[in-house]
């Protein structure tokens, strides 16, 4: 589904602030893969996501999504096939627009409506939105006329998740999307994530600082350090792995302990 071939990106080249954020990252994701990504501070996890999403173009290497070379495709055009959730729940929704309008915006981006600039949401669309909202089990289906700014962070994040998967994307990028939520809400959003991803078999990448979660969720785990993928475990090997094993493997590979001040080991 997604192929990264030797992606390299250096920020501020030729200055004292020069930083090689991605150093020849190659990765091949099969359709339906659910990959968790862990790594030390500044390892390049978010940068990797930005490269895939097209926030910047890589210096070297190519990105192929579902057979199409998207290396130089502008960010907004990739977004049609790519869902993204950020750590900050405020980033994914427009606060002064109602829940319904936000959903409409996400829904109307589909191929069917792509050039129908003046299409509006009809009654059937509204029923569809209502059903989708009801699945979140947050009572949002009765608040469709309210501005999103009134919702809590968890509700906004759940709504964003719904918006980016209502029309299933080819790939879903979750950048610590539960890290800013309280534990109860985080659990709930994670549960919804799991259900939605499983239902549509969406190819997913998720950055997390929770090592336990990294091993428990999904089908494959990547560890990153200094802009490189240093560990890639899946299948049987991953099934029998404990958090300690993972940390040991990291140390053996990189030569030092995983240095991340936000890491959660349990």
């Amino acid at each position: 589904m997604l192929k990264l071939n030797g992606i390299t990106k250096t920020f501020n080249p030729g200055t004292v602030n020069e930083k090689k954020a991605l150093d020849g990252v190659s990765l091949h994701l099969a359709p339906g893969d659910f990959v968790t990504v862990v790594g030390s501070n500044g390892a390049g996890k978010s940068t990797l996501f930005h490269a895939i999403a097209g926030v910047f173009f890589p210096d070297r290497g190519s990105i192929v999504l579902d057979g199409e070379d998207i290396t130089f495709k502008p960010e907004y055009r990739r977004s049609r096939e790519l869902g993204r959730l950020f750590q900050d729940p405020m980033k994914g929704t427009a606060p002064h627009m109602t829940i319904e309008e936000n959903l409409a915006l996400a829904y109307l981006r589909t191929a069917k409506h792509q050039h129908a600039y003046f299409s509006r949401t009809g009654k059937s669309d509204r029923t569809f939105f209502r059903d989708q909202l009801a699945r979140l089990d947050m009572g949002l289906e009765d608040r469709m006329g309210q501005p999103v700014g009134l919702l809590s962070g968890g509700q906004r994040q759940a709504l964003t998740l719904l918006m980016s998967t209502m029309v299933p994307p080819k790939i879903l990028l979750l950048d610590e999307h539960t890290a800013a939520l309280d534990p109860g809400t985080a659990e709930k959003v994670l549960k919804i994530t799991r259900e939605v991803v499983a239902e549509h078999k969406i190819t997913t990448m998720m950055v997390t600082h929770n090592m336990h979660q990294a091993l428990e969720l999904g089908s494959r785990t990547l560890m990153m350090d200094s802009g490189r993928i240093v560990l890639d475990v899946q299948g049987e090997e991953r099934k029998n792995m404990t958090v300690n094993d993972l940390l040991e493997r990291f140390k053996a590979r990189v030569g030092e302990d995983l240095d991340n001040d936000r890491i959660l080991l349990s």
């Binding site: 907004y76 977004s79 409409a104």
Partner: protein, 308 residues
């Protein structure tokens, strides 16, 4: 009585026209979150183009022509900021400066233009009937009708896919980039629509005044902003439809305040100061309300304290 019917009617006529400019600022300033300072020049451009086309013998074509001129002006402003990376405020100022020369050129390199005695949209509709009521009120009726059409279309537009995208662009730039909307495109469309309304307003002012000069638009942005803020303060920021009604009401209230000031014999020289004061008061209103609420709370607490 402080205001005669005629003064009130004139105030409402101006209010209807200024509503269009306020609506334009509503789109650029409130919805897109961009301070578009090309309003002054674009307003004059609308007049210059409208008057020239009217003088050429096309009274009906004047309106769409003025709107098209506005679209072009908006496009240039948008192009500067989306493609060439010019700061949005600066882009507006640059276009505004450039438009001065453009406007002079459109007006045949003269700083005045009179369309007195030429058939215009307004004079033609006025001539439809000799009825005294009609000759007095036709201008206001035509202007209100145009405003109503524009307002309804604007309200409908902001519920379409494109309209929603434009609103999202001003509301959450991060979200827009991640959700397949091209902000350069939505900003361009938004500014084109906004400036077409400004151009239309300029054209209509010309038709009402029948003569104008190159400095017609000076200070327009302040006046429209005042109307917009009066409207948003009074009607709140709820649904798009209500906000549009608020903007229109704000413009009419602003013109009525000005008319009252005129009727109270405030000298014309002091006019700009009156405008500035109204703007300042309108902007300060929400903050003032908060202060009053806090003072009340304090007072209530003090009374409670006295009881204990």
């Amino acid at each position: 009585m402080l205001l005669s019917v005629v003064t009130l009617r004139t105030a409402l006529e101006m209010g209807a026209i200024y509503s269009l400019v306020a609506l334009a600022l509503f789109i650029s300033f409130s919805i897109l979150n961009i301070a578009d300072l090309s309003t002054d020049g674009c307003y004059t451009l609308g007049f210059a183009v409208g008057a020239t086309v009217t003088l050429a013998g096309h009274p009906f074509l004047a309106l769409p022509a003025a709107m098209l001129a506005g679209v072009l002006s908006g496009f240039v402003t948008a192009f500067l900021q989306t493609k060439l990376g010019v700061e949005s405020i600066l882009a507006g100022i640059i276009v505004n400066t450039g438009l001065y020369t453009v406007n002079l050129a459109v007006m045949g390199w003269s700083s005045n233009l009179s369309i007195f005695g030429t058939d215009t949209l307004l004079s033609l509709t006025k001539g439809l009937s000799g009825n005294e009521f009609w000759t007095g009120w036709s201008t206001l009726i035509v202007l209100s009708a145009i405003l109503a059409v524009v307002a309804v279309l604007t309200a409908l537009f902001f519920r379409t896919r494109l309209g929603l995208s434009i609103r999202a662009t001003g509301d959450n730039a991060d979200m827009v980039r991640a959700s397949s909307i091209n902000p350069a495109f939505t900003i361009t469309v938004g500014l084109c629509v906004a400036n077409s309304l400004t151009g239309l307003a300029g054209c209509l002012t010309g038709l009402v005044n029948k003569s104008c000069d190159i400095n017609l638009g000076t200070g327009m942005v302040t006046v429209a902003l005042a109307s917009l803020i009066i409207g948003e303060t009074m009607f709140g920021r709820f649904s798009i439809g209500l906000r549009i009604v608020g903007v229109i009401a704000g413009s009419c209230i602003y013109r009525i305040i000005i008319a009252v000031a005129l009727a109270a014999n405030v000298p014309t020289e002091c006019f700009k100061l009156v405008s500035a004061l109204i703007v300042a008061v309108a902007i300060a209103m929400p903050q003032g309300r908060k202060l009053i609420a806090i003072q009340r709370q304090k007072l209530a607490r003090r009374k409670e304290g006295a009881k204990c």
